[in-house]
C-alpha cells in the first residue's frame, strides 16, 4: 500500500531529514513510526500527505508513483487519506459536526449523505451527543476524537497520524490507540508517528524506528500481515 524506495528528503536549507528510506507498509497494516525528536517522523508523514515533495527516490501509494503527481491532482489524492495531528487542527468557530463534515463537503457530497456519515463517524468515536458543541468546549481527549472522526468520515484507505496522543495522559492515549486499532480491523492501513515507547510496546504492532533520518530498526512485526 505504502512503498518507500531509497527516499531522501533534503529541506531547502540543505538539511537531510530523511536519508535513503526503504519501507513497505501493507494494506490493512497498523504500523508505528518512532524515534527521537528530529528523527524525521513528521517529515515522512508530510511526504505521504504531499505537504512536502521528496528530493530523490520513489514513493508508491497503492502502486502509483506520487513523486510527480501534478499539483492539480493533490486534492483528489489527499481525499484518499485520513490525517490526524497532535494539535488536532480543529476549527473553533464551527461546531463539532461541521468540523467532521469538512472532508465530505470538499468532496461535494450531498447534505443528506454528509449528515448520515458524520453521525456515523461521531458515533464511532463516542461523541454523537456533542455534535452541536464547539470543539473549544471539549476536553483534550474529546477534541482528539473529533479529529479522528474527521479523519475517517470519508472512509479513507490510509490513515496517517502524527503524535496523536502527544498532549494526552496515558489513559486517554490508550483509548485513542484502541480507536486506531478498530480502524485497522476494518481494513484501513494505519501509520502512526509517536515517541511514546511505552504505549507503542503495549500495542503489539510493527514498530519502525527512525534515527537521524534513517530506518534504524524495522522490527516487531507482530500482529501484522507483513
Amino acid at each position: 500500500m505504502i512503498h518507500f524506495d531509497n527516499l531522501t528528503k533534503r529541506y531547502s536549507g540543505g538539511y537531510e531529514a530523511l536519508k535513503g528510506i526503504n519501507l513497505n507498509v501493507n494494506a490493512g497494516e497498523l504500523a508505528f513510526l518512532t524515534g527521537h525528536s528530529g528523527a524525521g517522523k513528521s517529515t515522512l508523514l508530510k511526504l505521504l500527505m504531499l505537504l512536502e515533495r521528496p528530493s530523490s527516490g520513489t514513493l508508491l501509494i497503492n502502486g502509483k508513483n506520487i513523486n510527480r503527481l501534478a499539483n492539480s491532482k493533490i486534492p483528489a489524492y489527499r481525499r484518499q487519506l485520513g490525517v490526524v495531528f497532535q494539535d488536532h487542527q480543529l476549527l473553533m468557530d464551527r461546531s463539532v459536526f461541521d468540523n467532521v463534515a469538512l472532508p465530505l463537503q470538499v468532496a461535494g457530497q450531498s447534505r443528506k449523505e454528509i449528515g448520515r456519515r458524520v453521525r456515523a463517524a461521531l458515533d464511532g468515536v463516542g461523541l454523537l451527543l456533542k455534535e452541536r458543541h464547539s470543539p473549544a468546549m471539549l476536553s483534550g481527549g474529546e477534541q482528539q476524537r473529533v479529529g479522528i472522526a474527521r479523519a475517517v468520515v470519508h472512509k479513507p484507505r490510509i490513515l496517517l497520524a502524527d503524535e496523536p496522543t502527544g498532549n494526552l495522559d496515558p489513559g486517554l492515549s490508550a483509548e485513542i490507540m484502541a480507536l486506531f486499532r478498530r480502524f485497522q480491523d476494518v481494513g484501513v492501513t494505519v501509520l502512526i508517528a509517536s515517541h511514546d515507547i511505552d504505549l507503542i510496546n503495549q500495542m503489539n504492532c510493527r514498530i519502525i524506528r527512525l534515527e537521524q533520518g534513517m530506518v534504524a530498526d524495522d522490527g516487531g512485526t507482530h500482529g501484522s500481515v507483513f
Binding site: L51, P75, L102, P103, V106, S110, A120, G126, V186
Partner: protein, 328 residues
C-alpha cells in the same frame, strides 16, 4: 470518555450511487451554503462591511453621477434641436412674387428640411403679443420688421457645425437675402463640453473602478488572513483551489453588489431631490426638458458593474494571497 470503547464503528456501509442529478444537487447545495455563509460572515462584522460598502458606493456613484449628467446634457441638446435653425432676413422692398421665388429657391436646397415664411405683419403681431410693448409699437409710423424665413436644416446638417457654413453661404447667395443668423453656437459649446465630460467619465470610471478593485482586494486579503487556519485545514482534507477560493469570491462579489446598491440609492435619491428644481427651471424657459435619473436598467447595470468589480477584485486578491499559504 468511557463510551468510546462501546461505540460501534460503522465502516464499509454501502455508499449510495450518486447520479448526475445527485451531483448537480450537491453542487447547488454547496454553492447556496457557501453563499449563505459569505452573507453571514459579512453580517457578523456589520461595521467593517458597512464601511467597505460605503467607500465602494462613493467610488461608484461619482462616475455614475457624472455619466448621468453628461447623458442629461445630451438629452438637453437633442431637446433643443429646433434651435439650430437659420433665420434669413429679406430686403424690405421685396414684393410678393419675389418672396415666393425665394421660398422655392430655399426649398430647392437639398440640406433644407423645412421653410417657414413670416411676413413683416405677422412678425409685428407676434412681437406685439409676446413682448408686452404693444402700446409703444403703435407709435411707429411704419413696420420696421423685414420679411423673414425660418429655415430648418435636415438633421445631419443641424448637428455638424462645419456643414452649416456652406448652407449659410448658399442661402446668402439668394439676391434678396440680406442677412442670415444661426442660433447654435452655445449648442456647439455645450456639445464639446459634453464630449469632454464623456472622456472624463471614462477616465474617472477607470480610475475609480481600479480603486474599487483595490478596496475589495484589500478587504479580501484581510479576510484570507483571518481565515488562514481554515484554509490550511481545508487543503489538508483535500479541498481544491476552486473550493478554497469560492467563499472569498462570493464575499467580494457581495461587497461589490452591496456597494453598487448603495451607489444606486445615492444617485436615485440625489436626482429625485434635484429633479423638482430642474423641472421648475425648465418650465421657466418653456422647455420640455426633464432630468432623467438612473432608471431600473441603469440601476441593474450599475449593480452588475459593482458585482463584477467585486468578483474581479477578490479573484485578484485570492490568486495572489492563497499562494502564500502552505500547503499548496
Amino acid at each position: 470518555m468511557a463510551q468510546s470503547s462501546s461505540a460501534k464503528v460503522r465502516r464499509g456501509a454501502v455508499a449510495p450511487k450518486i447520479g448526475l442529478f445527485g451531483l448537480i444537487r450537491a453542487a447547488f447545495e454547496h454553492h447556496s451554503h457557501t453563499f449563505q455563509d459569505s452573507l453571514k460572515r459579512l453580517a457578523k462584522d456589520p461595521l467593517q462591511t458597512l464601511m467597505t460598502a460605503s467607500v465602494i458606493a462613493i467610488a461608484l456613484s461619482l462616475p455614475a453621477t457624472l455619466f448621468l449628467v453628461v447623458d442629461n446634457a445630451r438629452q438637453f441638446e437633442n431637446n433643443f434641436e429646433s434651435f439650430s435653425q437659420i433665420t434669413a432676413y429679406v430686403d424690405n422692398s421685396a414684393n410678393q412674387k419675389q418672396i415666393a421665388t425665394i421660398k422655392t429657391q430655399l426649398q430647392a436646397i437639398p440640406e433644407v428640411a423645412a421653410v417657414m415664411y413670416i411676413s413683416p405683419e405677422q412678425g409685428l403681431q407676434e412681437f406685439t403679443e409676446n413682448s408686452g410693448f404693444g402700446s409703444a409699437l403703435k407709435y411707429l409710423e411704419s413696420n420696421p420688421l423685414p420679411p423673414v424665413f425660418i429655415i430648418e436644416p435636415i438633421a445631419d446638417v443641424a448637428l455638424e457645425a462645419n456643414q452649416v457654413q456652406p448652407l449659410l453661404a448658399k442661402i446668402s447667395q439668394i439676391a434678396e437675402v440680406e442677412d442670415t443668423q444661426i442660433d447654435m453656437l452655445w449648442l456647439q459649446r455645450l456639445r464639446s463640453l459634453t464630449q469632454i465630460g464623456q472622456q472624463i467619465v471614462f477616465a474617472l470610471g477607470f480610475v475609480l473602478g481600479l480603486g474599487v478593485l483595490v478596496i475589495i482586494g484589500n478587504s479580501i486579503r484581510l479576510t484570507i488572513h483571518g481565515r488562514r487556519e481554515e484554509i490550511i485545514v481545508v487543503k489538508l482534507v483535500g479541498g481544491t483551489d476552486a473550493y478554497v477560493r469560492r467563499p472569498f469570491l462570493y464575499s467580494g462579489m457581495l461587497m461589490g453588489l452591496i456597494g453598487a446598491m448603495g451607489a444606486a440609492l445615492i444617485i436615485v435619491i440625489g436626482f429625485w431631490w434635484l429633479s423638482g428644481s430642474v423641472a421648475q427651471l425648465s418650465e421657466l424657459y418653456n422647455s420640455q426638458f426633464r432630468l432623467h435619473s438612473l432608471g431600473v436598467q441603469g440601476c441593474l447595470a450599475l449593480i452588475a458593474v459593482g458585482a463584477s468589480l467585486g468578483l474581479s477584485g477578490s479573484w485578484l486578491a485570492v490568486t495572489r494571497h492563497l499562494k502564500d499559504i502552505k500547503p499548496r
